[in-house]
Structures are given as C-alpha cells and as structure tokens.
C-alpha cells in the first residue's frame, strides 16, 4: 500500500512530505508509544502509528528502520521533530483518529504487523 493510500484511509494531513521519487509500498505497521517496543518489534520498512511526537521518535524510527510515521489524535510535532524528520527523510502525517481506530482501519485494508505475520 502506498503512502498516498494510507494517508487517504486515515484522513491524514501531511506534515513532512515523502520524497517524490520515494514511493515504496508499505506491507506492515507497528503501533506503539514506547520506544523500546518499537525497537523490540524489529519492524523495518514499516509504518509507525504513535501518540508520541518528540524528536526521539524520529531517532528511534531511524534505528528501527521505520519508513514513515503517523501521529494520532491530530497531534502535531514540534519544530525540532519536523527538522530531524526532514533531515532523516522520514515522512510524517497526522490523523484525527486514535491509535485503535487508525490501526483498525489499516488492518482492515490488509496491512499487518510484522510480528504476527
């Protein structure tokens, strides 16, 4: 599933846009608010759904190989988070839905967790 499709399903607003050339399809999702859980999942090339917006989410995503992040409940990250995401080329989105609903919508659309695949 492309980021454009994901974004549409989640009624998401783009905060940091993906590079035009970068249209890798997503096959898996990881939902977590704890950094060590993200690292535990080993979810390379996944999308991360989270309620945390500080810069550390970007660092953790980079280490874990997460390729894009969706913030729930319309949360907007601060300038430092956005700057780091631009630097690391990690697209950011914000969805009005909560973690449960956002995850459910993507699950329904066929995306799974790498952990249970």
């Amino acid at each position: 599933m492309t980021l454009a499709e994901i974004s549409e399903i989640l009624d998401a607003l783009s905060i940091v846009s993906p590079e035009e050339t970068d249209d890798v399809p997503f096959h898996s999702v990881c939902s977590a608010d704890l950094m060590s859980d993200v690292l535990y999942y080993h979810a390379p090339n996944s999308l991360l759904i989270t309620g945390l917006t500080q810069p550390h989410v970007i660092r953790t995503a980079e280490i874990a190989g997460i390729k894009a992040i969706v913030f729930v409940l319309n949360k907007k990250p601060d300038a430092r988070t956005i700057e780091l995401a631009q630097q690391k080329k990690i697209p950011l989105f914000s969805t009005p839905y909560c973690t449960y609903t956002a995850s459910g919508k993507l699950y329904e659309a066929g995306l799974r967790s790498l952990r249970d695949a």
Binding site: S36, L39, Y40, L52, H56, T60, E62, G65
Partner: protein, 145 residues
C-alpha cells in the same frame, strides 16, 4: 556491496547523562559507519538497536559514559561504560518490563523495561558488569556471518 573492513576499525563516543537533545546520536553515527563499511542490513539493525538501548540507559541513569566500538570482518564489539549508580539486582533488571525510570522519562516514551532484554536479544554475546555506586559496563558482540 562487499564488506570493506580492513583489520580492526575502532572508535569512541562520549555520552553525557541527562542530555536528551543529542541522545541517540552516537548509535546513529555507528549505524552510518557500519552502512559505509558494507555490513548487511540485518546485522546493522541488530547492532544499532542494541547500541541505542545501551546509550539511552547511560543518558537516563548515569552521569556520563563512553561508547567504544571495534569492528572487524567477523563482528562488531560494543562496550558502553558509565559512571552511574550501578545496578543492584541484575537479574531483576534483565526482566522484561522491569524499570525504575522516573515519570519524566516515561513521558518521553522510554522506561518500558525492555532495554536490557532488547540488548541481549540482538547480540550474540552479552555481558554486563556493575558496581553499585560506581558504574556499569555493558559489552556486546554481534557476529558478522
């Protein structure tokens, strides 16, 4: 990309306790270095996850520390030593979910109690030495097959 490691490549990064703004940078630099050396992606991921968790523990619990790395064609050795409070009960600390992280750290998304288990899970050799009141040293080896 072929492995491009000649002999032993080593280096260190200094870590400052409590410095959340730059926390994780040492692990990110090491990750970049491994990428440049042509190490396989899965090995890099294991090494950087383990290093990142160890680096974060120094930032969260200790006053200061060092991260030393040694890269050979056979593996990556990482030693993280800190001047911190030490760990009273290692067996307890190693348990998944055990954490003494303060509230403000939890608000930043840390303190899941999965750091030490993540380090162990991602390394082929994991050793931890600690002296209460002096500090902790974690040594990890990730093999390059």
């Amino acid at each position: 990309m072929p492995l491009n490691i000649d002999g032993c490549i080593e280096g260190s990064y200094q870590l400052i306790g409590g410095n959340f703004a730059t926390a994780g940078e040492a692990s990110t630099c090491l990750k970049l270095k491994l990428t440049e050396l042509g190490v396989a992606e899965t090995i890099i991921r294991r090494a950087s996850i383990a290093t990142f968790e160890a680096e974060m523990n120094v930032i969260i619990y200790a006053a200061a520390g060092w991260l030393h790395y040694y890269i050979t064609p056979h593996g990556i050795k990482i030693r993280i030593e800190d001047m911190g409070p030490g760990i009273e009960d290692i067996e307890l600390a190693m348990q998944e979910g055990f954490s003494t992280a303060p509230e403000w750290v939890r608000e930043l998304g840390w303190g899941a109690g999965m750091g030490l288990p993540n380090m162990k899970k991602n390394s082929d050799l994991f050793k931890i030495d600690t002296v209460v009141g002096e500090g902790t040293t974690v040594e990890m080896v990730i093999n390059i097959p």
